[in-house]
């Protein structure tokens, strides 16, 4: 079969509502992940998003243990967990990466033990680890859209403050910026993003949506504002291309999107270097 035929067959799949929902959900997650990701990498919080992803599994496992709906538990759990981690980071004198390592590896260990008790371990672990973007429902889409609007409004309306806060915190405090409030809101939004995205992407890949497009955008940007826009844009583009790739070759959707993010990141390394060599 020719590539054109394969492409046509893949595109036909998008006539199905589940594929349309997957595409829209992927775009929202890519946009929000890129938007928050740009600040996450510049403030060196990448490990934090990873720890949040792993902790989500802990929340889900407790929901199973208590016989509750995991979707109802995951958002409050992610937010509370994020705030506790932030408190620990501020109050202990340990290195951030070391403390986050303790948190995410122990979250994973406890979650796996709890899952083994409730009998969900064998059947559901892959689903939890890698997610299923094709299983997104309309309610999930609404949640993703609301979160995207919230994040855009927060970052957009406080952009100048966020920029100063990122470049030099003491200068922001000297200008009267309530740093702790801004930091807490940002962390809560990041936790909500992780919580909302877990179902589609899974606990292992959720931080890729936050980190990889933002790093690719950094390689392509000279200004702060371009970086934010490019990061969100690349997040959305990689989601579209990833879902297309998944439809073309019948591959799992979440990993396909991450592979596309990686491809874009590699291009972002190569293109500026090639441009410099050409000059």
């Amino acid at each position: 079969m020719s590539i054109a035929t394969e492409l046509s067959r893949a595109l036909e799949l998008f006539e199905f509502p589940f594929m349309q929902r997957a595409l829209i959900g992927g775009v929202f997650t890519g946009l929000t992940g890129g938007l928050l990701g740009s600040f996450t990498i510049l403030r060196q919080l990448s490990f934090f998003s990873d720890a949040l992803g792993h902790s989500a599994l802990l929340g889900i496992s407790f929901a199973f243990l208590l016989g509750l709906n995991p979707s109802a538990i995951i958002l409050p759990f992610a937010v509370i967990f994020a705030l506790v981690v932030m408190f620990l980071l501020e109050r202990t004198h340990l290195w951030t990466d070391a403390l986050l390592n303790i948190i995410y590896s122990s979250s994973l260990a406890v979650a796996l033990i709890v899952l083994s008790f409730v009998g969900q371990y064998k059947g559901g672990i892959n689903h939890l680890l890698f997610g299923d973007i094709l299983a997104i429902r309309n309610a999930d889409l609404i949640l993703s859209a609301v979160l995207f609007c919230l994040c855009t409004a927060f970052i957009g309306l406080t952009l100048r403050t966020q920029m100063l806060l990122t470049i030099n915190e003491p200068m922001a405090i000297a200008r009267g910026v309530p740093v702790a409030t801004y930091r807490t809101i940002f962390i809560v939004l990041l936790a909500l993003l992780v919580g909302v995205s877990i179902k589609a992407i899974g606990v292992l890949l959720v931080s890729a949506f936050i980190v990889i497009p933002a790093c690719a955008a950094r390689l392509l940007s000279r200004t702060f504002t371009h970086h934010i826009v490019a990061s969100a844009g690349l997040g959305a583009i990689s989601a579209i291309l990833g879902i297309l790739l998944s439809a073309l070759f019948n591959l799992p959707s979440g990993p396909s999107i991450v592979v596309m993010q990686l491809a874009i990141f590699c291009l972002a390394i190569v293109v500026p270097t090639a441009q410099r060599l050409a000059l």
């Binding site: 403050t161 100063l164 470049i167 030099n168 000297a174 950094r218 371009h226």
Partner: protein, 257 residues
């Protein structure tokens, strides 16, 4: 009589259960330059941070342009806008993508909720004027990560200059510059002080610079040991009182061989 820009009354600040600054009182008037001198660990940076509201105080009052600084470090947006602060060394992550124009523009903005495109034209105009004044307009589109130490100091002054200020607080701002860079920085700073009528409060270890350029010196070692004109405050007896009796001020002299 010049307006009082900053007034400190019986300020006490604790750090880790000890009084880093105790019962300090002084005031600053417009158009004057005051240096805070003292040995390492004397509480100079703590004093600056308490004035800015970065560090909480345990006792005393701080008034900026007549307005009291609350215990939570709050001032009205208008008064906040009139203060500029240059930290020691200006540490920042050089991987952050930000151009000189973007950074200086942050000094112009009233921080808080606003649309990202609000004030674009007046901001751009103010940035151009500020960068031109410090002879750094050619750096406008450069990433701040590519600047030399001297260029960063100029850009920081443009950040202060981009909106009218009343009080400039510097924490060893010329640190990291070579002798020539430091001299150029101070030259520019004092030209701007004359033009803008800034009240300057600066932490310094350079006693010769304080003698040459400052109107007043505050000798701090936990408490305020003395204050006055540099000739009076930096006399041998006062320096011994501040730095300890073993302190011997050393003056460089050039000799022809």
């Amino acid at each position: 009589m010049s307006e009082t820009v900053l007034a400190i009354e019986q300020l006490t600040v604790y750090r880790d259960n000890y009084a880093a600054v105790q019962d300090v009182s002084f005031s600053l008037t417009a158009g004057t330059d005051t240096a805070v001198v003292g040995p390492n660990g004397a509480g100079k940076s703590t004093l600056i941070q308490a004035i800015l509201g970065i560090f909480p105080r345990q006792k005393g009052q701080i008034f900026v342009l007549g307005q009291p600084l609350s215990q939570q470090g709050k001032l009205t947006a208008e008064v906040r806008q009139s203060i500029a602060y240059l930290p020691q060394n200006f540490p920042f992550d050089r991987r952050i993508p930000m151009t000189v124009a973007e950074f200086v523009g942050l000094g112009w903005d009233r921080l808080g909720l606003q649309l990202p495109w609000a004030g674009r034209k007046p901001r751009r105009k103010a940035v151009r004027e500020a960068l031109s004044r410090v002879e750094a307009w050619h750096l406008c589109h450069q990433p701040i990560s590519s600047l030399s130490g001297g260029e960063i100091k100029r850009v920081l002054l443009a950040y202060c200059l981009v909106r009218p200020r009343r009080l400039l607080i510097l924490d060893e701002a010329p640190a990291g510059l070579d002798v020539r860079g430091e001299s150029e920085f101070y030259q520019l700073l004092y030209e701007l002080k004359q033009e803008q009528g800034w009240a300057i409060l600066q932490v310094s270890h350079d006693l010769d610079m304080v003698r040459r350029h400052c109107d007043r010196a505050l000798c701090l070692n936990q408490t305020l040991r003395c204050q006055g004109t540099p000739e009076v405050a930096l006399s041998s007896s006062n320096l011994s009182l501040t730095y300890g009796s073993e302190f011997v001020p050393y003056h460089h002299t050039c000799r022809d061989y």
